[in-house]
């Protein structure tokens, strides 16, 4: 009895505490953020940078190059593992204990910008037109840019050239050809599955949405979700037809199984990002090199089809002690020469278009294909709730692929879920 009373008292106290400090809805935070410009002259002082994965381990290369141009500045790099990076940055923002600069995954921009931890990109620091449009859009939250695209990745079509030759097929240039291409690789080429499309689970939307985009569908219209459209439905019908006709397996592959199946010749083609070039070569050895190729995704009727674009942005925190120098480092990282140096260091694809002209990026024809694909890309909307919306799209794709619901119903449910989750802006 006594415990109940105490609990009730506690709840009442909690309710009081909460109601005493309601959010100020008309606060200045909602106004479009004003970007301050950066002082002239070379950078000075220490710039603390966080970066994840291979980027974090190798960033010292750029740090050294930056110090060469700015002798009074030093770049201090803290490598952070991708796992937990999101929470680490979120906690740092909450505590005001941020570094000066950090690598931010493109899908996190909406959330961190909305939290109020990121400094708006100064006008005149970089020219937005220098970048691929999709990646630049990923930095823009509610009409304000909060960072600069650093590297990009996009998805293209991998296929076994020897199997295609055996089946007498040229790489597809439209949807119909893509279908007959997969059929040919399977029937005449001898692959168990003509293509692998992700049938569901985390990230399936990244394989599916390009088809919808190629068909003219959109995820958002202004600040509203616009997933439910005849175009999206038609794209999902096309997507699920690959599974109904047995051209793609309908259970997700384990990590590592895709490149193994591709090298074995059991999977004739698949859609993935530039990292798969290395993975396929690792599994297949030197013999595989003249047995596979990469081509841009086919459009619905002709030309290069729209693909998904992801990657990483560099952002400066508003709690930075060395803001101007931090932005100068970001500016340096987006110079075409620096971007080429970075490609040579860890094969990250440049977000700046001119970095692709001449230089190391023209050496590998497979890499050049991704450069071509980057001209036609879309990025997911930069909203804080995107990960949750994406998870529900993934699950609706899986339902449709397994034939549990009709594509119309699946797409309607994507829209309904997205609306109930909201944009979080």
């Amino acid at each position: 009895m006594k415990t109940t009373t105490r609990t009730l008292a506690l709840l009442a106290a909690a309710a009081l505490l909460v109601s005493a400090c309601g959010r100020d809805e008309d606060g200045d935070a909602d106004d479009a953020a004003q970007a301050e410009s950066v002082a002239e002259g070379p950078a000075e002082g220490t710039i603390e940078v966080w970066a994840m994965g291979a980027e974090g381990e190798n960033l010292d290369v750029l740090g050294a190059a930056f110090t060469e141009e700015n002798p009074d500045a030093t770049v201090e790099v803290t490598p952070v593992p991708w796992e937990g990076a999101h929470d680490k940055i979120a906690t740092a923002i909450a505590a005001g204990e941020t570094p000066d600069v950090s690598l931010i995954g493109t899908t996190w921009m909406g959330e961190f910008a909305k939290t109020g931890g990121l400094d708006p990109t100064p006008e005149d620091l970089v020219n937005p037109d220098d970048f691929f449009p999709g990646p630049w859009e990923s930095t823009v939250v509610e009409d304000t840019s909060y960072g600069v695209p650093w590297y990009v990745e996009t998805r293209a079509l991998y296929y076994r050239t020897d199997l295609a030759e055996q089946a007498g097929l040229e790489p597809p240039t439209n949807w119909d050809e893509l279908k007959s291409f997969a059929q040919g690789l399977q029937e005449q080429g001898g692959a168990q599955y003509g293509i692998y499309l992700q049938p569901g689970q985390q990230g399936a939307w990244q394989t599916f949405m390009p088809f919808a985009w190629q068909n003219g569908a959109q995820l958002t219209d202004g600040d509203q979700y616009a997933i439910d459209s005849p175009e999206t439905v038609e794209a999902l019908e096309f997507y699920t037809s690959f599974f109904e006709e047995g051209l793609s397996q309908n259970t997700p592959l384990d990590p590592g199984a895709l490149e193994q199946g591709f090298v074995d010749g059991t999977i004739g083609s698949f859609i993935s990002g530039p990292w798969h070039v290395g993975l396929v070569r690792d599994v297949g050895g030197p013999e595989i090199d003249d047995k596979f190729d990469v081509v841009p995704l086919p459009g619905k009727d002709s030309g290069v089809g729209t693909s998904f674009v992801g990657g990483g942005n560099l952002a400066v925190f508003d709690a930075s002690d060395n803001r101007d120098a931090a932005w100068k480092f970001v500016q340096f990282a987006s110079q075409p020469e620096t971007q080429q140096l970075w490609y040579e260091t860890i094969n990250d694809l440049p977000s700046v278009q001119s970095a692709w002209e001449g230089g190391p990026l023209t050496d590998d024809p497979l890499v050049a294909v991704f450069g071509e694909q980057l001209q036609e890309t879309e990025a997911p909307p930069a909203v804080p709730t995107w990960e949750q919306v994406a998870a529900s799209i993934d699950s609706d794709i899986e339902r449709a692929v397994r034939g549990q619901v009709e594509p119309t119903e699946a797409v309607a449910n994507m829209q309904q879920q997205a609306e109930s989750i909201g944009t979080g802006l």
């Binding site: 939290t115 259970t251 397994r402």
Partner: protein
């Protein structure tokens, strides 16, 4: 039987009025202080904070100004029960507990009784049953996923030898959860078995012999002597297994990631996902629902298995 008594001292002395007792009490508090501080900061604090959070609309974007969130009343709880996914994970978790706990208990008790009979290779078997408990779940997951592969996995190959076309265990929406239940039972039965084995040692031999003299068979001796004596041990086993299974997380996380189609997603995974999505209010509310479920189930078990004297 003689009752054990450790307090022959008169009641007045126990109240702690003598200077010696008072200084002892002070020392005790002093020694407990580091723990109490850590407990207050790292357990009580977060528990209360999340309780408050569950009545607000807090999201990850409010981290900077956590005190400026709006009160949401019970709307998080209402939304939760309106969410078909939450209802689904609640049902999954309930099935997991209702099937998994009895299964694990029965298997562990059978193993313990069996091992109690033999003496020669007991430690070998005890090790064998206990090994899964101390093996990393990640290693276990890799091996089980390999065993359960639909086309090439040893389990389906053996089934194929006897003419059964083995299903895709983890890929099927109906079989994935039962498969994980079996795997979890295998992983946990060693721990319970060790506890039950210890419990079996407390069953007085003379009682069993007396029952045998009275003409009780093997099963009757087990049912009417061993089980009643082991009641507290069984209760303990049931409670910790239920608490553990209600928080079912690791197995689906590493084996199926909650799929296919959320067939193996548990309440704990739902909480984890919601925190990941930044919905702190909903996530806190869901953890309190889980907390209440754990408290209720523990209460029911205590009621059901309480010694009847």
């Amino acid at each position: 039987m003689a009752t054990v008594s450790t307090t022959p001292a008169p009641v007045a002395a126990r109240r702690g009025t003598t200077p010696l007792r008072r200084s002892q009490a002070r020392t005790a508090w002093l020694l407990a202080l580091p723990f109490l501080l850590l407990f207050a900061i790292f357990t009580i604090g977060p528990v209360l904070a999340s309780l408050v959070m569950s009545f607000t609309d807090m999201r990850s974007t409010d981290l900077r100004t956590p005190f400026a969130v709006d009160p949401a009343g019970v709307s998080n709880y209402v939304d939760l029960f309106g969410d078909p996914l939450f209802r689904k994970v609640a049902v999954n978790t309930a099935i997991f507990v209702l099937v998994g706990v009895p299964l694990t208990m029965v298997l562990a008790l059978a193993a313990a009784v069996g091992l109690n009979q033999i003496t020669r290779v007991r430690s070998f078997f005890r090790l064998g049953y206990y090994l899964p408990v101390i093996t990393s779940i990640v290693a276990v997951a890799v091996v089980w996923r390999f065993l359960l592969q639909p086309d090439t996995g040893p389990i389906n190959q053996v089934l194929g030898l006897v003419g059964i076309d083995g299903p895709d265990w983890l890929g099927s929406t109906t079989l994935a959860l039962p498969t994980l239940i079996v795997m979890t039972a295998w992983r946990n039965l060693g721990y319970l078995m060790v506890i039950f084995l210890a419990g079996l040692q407390t069953v007085p031999r003379e009682m069993l012999e007396a029952a045998e003299v009275d003409g009780a068979g093997r099963w009757q001796r087990f049912r009417y002597v061993t089980v009643p004596v082991m009641r507290p041990t069984l209760l303990f086993g049931a409670v910790i297994t239920s608490i553990g299974y209600l928080q079912f997380f690791e197995e689906p996380f590493v084996m199926t990631n909650g799929g296919p189609l959320d067939a193996t997603r548990s309440m704990a995974m739902y909480v984890y996902d919601q925190f990941g999505f930044g919905n702190y209010g909903i996530a806190s509310a869901a953890s309190y629902v889980l907390f209440v479920a754990i408290a209720a189930l523990t209460f029911v078990l205590f009621r059901a298995l309480r010694s009847t004297d």
